[in-house]
């Protein structure tokens, strides 16, 4: 089953559910054994070579680069202050200034320059997306390593906690955490991050359990190397590649989920901060008169998420020894 893992499609499940479900399915399969030896080249270098030749990977990388550059350079790129209600005077009930020479994407419902808001929105999206995925990755890595390295009751305990987290659909889990922590940026970050923990933990545990049985671990153990150093310097590095792939894909999910949470009214408290999800929520009332106000932030979200999905999928292909020829 070359790319038939349900998890392969976990990319940007708008609601994140796909990713969680995928994690379950893939963790139950034995992980692909790394087999760089027959090629005589390091796994990373070989993977990079394959990535460079894959047009999908290049496309994904371009989108990701675009997204990151826009986020970093937003103050330089944006023609106006995203908070300034420059076009306030031209606003009539139900009609806002459309695209013009001075304002390429027109104005939003409060007379702010839409282009500047979209550009600045990239900052929020990237920041929260990356932070959330880092939280999910780090906690998942810790839990997965504990479970995979110790086995026994530690494994049992960790996996039961993961099972409980998995028993709530991930968007709902994120909603309940964000509601608990109040309307702050950090709560959205933590909410999306915690919702991703189970995927990483299950994935890493599954791979590590499979790796534990391999010959090089037996060899290391028979040489009398201590368990901690076997785990940290042999098993863990060899189990990381599926987790890295998942990390890239999770960034896409995180961006979409963060947008979904602010769409639901759970974003940070400051309504001035341009945020794609909230812009979308605000645009709902004007869908028939100013549809661009809904489609512009949506397109931005899709571009950002698509970049990470394409990159993650090609990374998976590049790292999967089964797909090598």
């Amino acid at each position: 089953m070359a790319d038939s893992d349900p998890e392969a499609t976990a990319g940007g499940g708008s609601a994140g559910g796909a990713a969680v479900d995928g994690g379950v399915a893939v963790a139950e399969k034995p992980a692909p054994a790394p087999g760089p030896a027959e090629v005589g080249q390091s796994l990373g270098r070989e993977a990079f070579r394959r990535l460079r030749r894959n047009p999908v990977a290049i496309g994904g990388a371009v989108l990701v680069l675009l997204f990151v550059l826009v986020a970093i350079l937003a103050p330089l790129l944006a023609p106006y202050d995203p908070v300034d209600q420059i076009l306030k005077d031209q606003i009539r009930p139900g009609s806002f200034p459309g695209p013009s020479h001075e304002h390429w994407l027109g104005s939003d419902s409060l007379g702010r320059d839409e282009l500047s808001r979209i550009l600045f929105g990239a900052r929020q999206s990237l920041l929260v997306g990356v932070l959330a995925t880092t939280v999910g990755f780090a906690v998942g890595l810790l839990l997965g390593t504990l479970a995979g390295a110790f086995g026994g009751w530690v494994d049992n305990l960790v996996m039961r906690v993961v099972d409980i987290l998995l028993s709530v659909p991930s968007l709902l889990l994120a909603i309940s955490i964000a509601a608990l922590l109040g309307q702050r940026l950090i709560s959205v970050t933590l909410a999306v991050g915690v919702a991703q923990v189970p995927i990483f933990a299950r994935l890493l545990r599954g791979t590590m359990l499979a790796e534990r049985e391999s010959d090089y671990v037996l060899a290391a153990r028979s040489l009398g190397i201590r368990r901690r150093s076997i785990v940290l310097s042999h098993v863990l590095p060899n189990s990381l590649s599926p987790v890295l792939v998942q990390g890239t894909l999770s960034l896409a999910t995180a961006i979409v989920d963060v947008a979904a949470l602010s769409f639901l009214g759970l974003s940070g408290a400051d309504p001035d901060v341009p945020e794609w999800g909230r812009m979308l929520a605000e645009s709902q009332t004007f869908l028939s008169t100013a549809p661009r106000l809904a489609f512009l932030p949506c397109t931005a979200i899709v571009i950002a998420a698509l970049g990470f999905t394409l990159l993650g999928e090609s990374l998976r292909e590049a790292l999967d020894p089964k797909l090598r020829r």
Binding site: G11, G16, V24, L172, A179, I301
Partner: protein
């Protein structure tokens, strides 16, 4: 098989208990504490004290947890702050809408996904195949609300082909014995009401079903390609069986195993996505109710709904696992996984 089912069922107990502990702690950790959460933002200190006594919040934690558990088992999740109705009855009136929506989305995704995936695999390496791979990659990335707004604007507002929002046309007066509008029309023989409900479901179902569709196309394609290379397929072809027989009896039947699991695994995605879809299309299901509960800090509703949805979710997942072992004799003989 029975032993496997019982074992899996027993494993649900610690999960649900753990979840109940989490939700119990969740309410107590809410900003301002549970009493304020129950009262909303306008509670006076006096009212807060009364609520604390009425809800037993002044008793020790373990007593509180025990009574919470007892009430939960009796499906008593308290009353909604916003509507003053019991959470359970609110859930029951709205759940049929959400079931209708998710089932419609699933029909769309499966009905289109399996044939598309199969065709892509049979045309492996050709244009249709590449198009389906790229299309499904983009498909999983497109958020529910994006497609929702797009369909709503173009098909409903611009072209006027289908209704943009709501569950039924206000001018159609129909009785609703079950609250499943499509079914109600059939039961009461008001077929135009059924048809009206279906037209209101089409756009939301497409929006919600697009990601599962993309996933099902991918899995079907990969599974069919996989199975096509199996020895038994070559044997069947060598025996001189008709191509359609090989496709139907040897390839499709075996390829359906991973597809069946994948379809089951979409439940969580569909339930999550339903929240967003219902908001975009103004559908009065559990999703939009959760949305209003968030807006109004209606914590009893959130707590109850999360618990009920989680229970439904784990049970559906269990059924998927069990049905998988029914379909696939290898799992049965193996004595059960997980």
């Amino acid at each position: 098989m029975l032993r496997y089912a019982i074992r899996r069922l027993a494993l649900l107990v610690p999960i649900l208990l753990g979840l109940s502990v989490l939700l119990f702690v969740w309410v107590r950790a809410l900003p301002g504490g549970p009493a304020q959460a129950l009262l909303g933002e306008h509670g006076s200190p006096d009212a807060e004290r009364q609520v604390r006594i009425a809800y037993g919040l002044d008793r020790p934690l373990y007593v509180q947890y025990w009574s919470f558990l007892k009430r939960t088992v009796h499906l008593d999740f308290g009353t909604s702050i916003r509507t003053n109705q019991s959470v359970t009855s609110e859930f029951l009136t709205r759940f049929p809408m959400t079931i209708e929506l998710t089932v419609a989305a699933l029909i769309f995704a499966v009905g289109l996904g399996i044939p598309l995936g199969y065709l892509a695999a049979r045309k492996h390496g050709r244009f249709l195949d590449h198009a389906s791979v790229v299309g499904s990659l983009i498909g999983v990335t497109i958020p529910v609300f994006f497609l929702g707004f797009l369909l709503k604007y173009w098909v409903a507002i611009k072209l006027g082909w289908l209704p943009p929002s709501g569950r039924s046309n206000e001018r159609i007066i129909a009785t609703h014995p079950t609250n499943f509008y499509v079914l109600d029309g059939l039961l009461t023989r008001e077929y135009d009401a059924s048809w009206d409900a279906i037209t209101h479901l089409i756009l939301p179902a497409i929006a919600l079903g697009s990601i599962p569709l993309a996933i099902i196309v991918r899995i079907t394609r990969a599974a069919v390609i996989d199975v096509s290379h199996e020895d038994y397929v070559r044997t069947a072809e060598a025996k001189g069986l008709a191509r359609s027989t090989v496709s139907r009896r040897h390839i499709l039947r075996n390829a359906m195993l991973p597809v069946a699991t994948t379809i089951g695994l979409q439940t969580g995605l569909l339930l999550s996505g339903a929240i967003l879809t219902e908001i975009v299309f103004g559908l009065p299901g559990i999703g939009s109710f959760v949305y209003h509960a968030i807006q109004n800090r209606d914590y009893p509703v959130l707590q109850g709904f999360i618990l009920i949805i989680a229970v439904i979710y784990v049970i559906v997942n269990l059924l998927v696992d069990l049905s998988y072992s029914l379909i696939d004799p290898r799992v049965r003989v193996g004595g059960g996984r997980g």
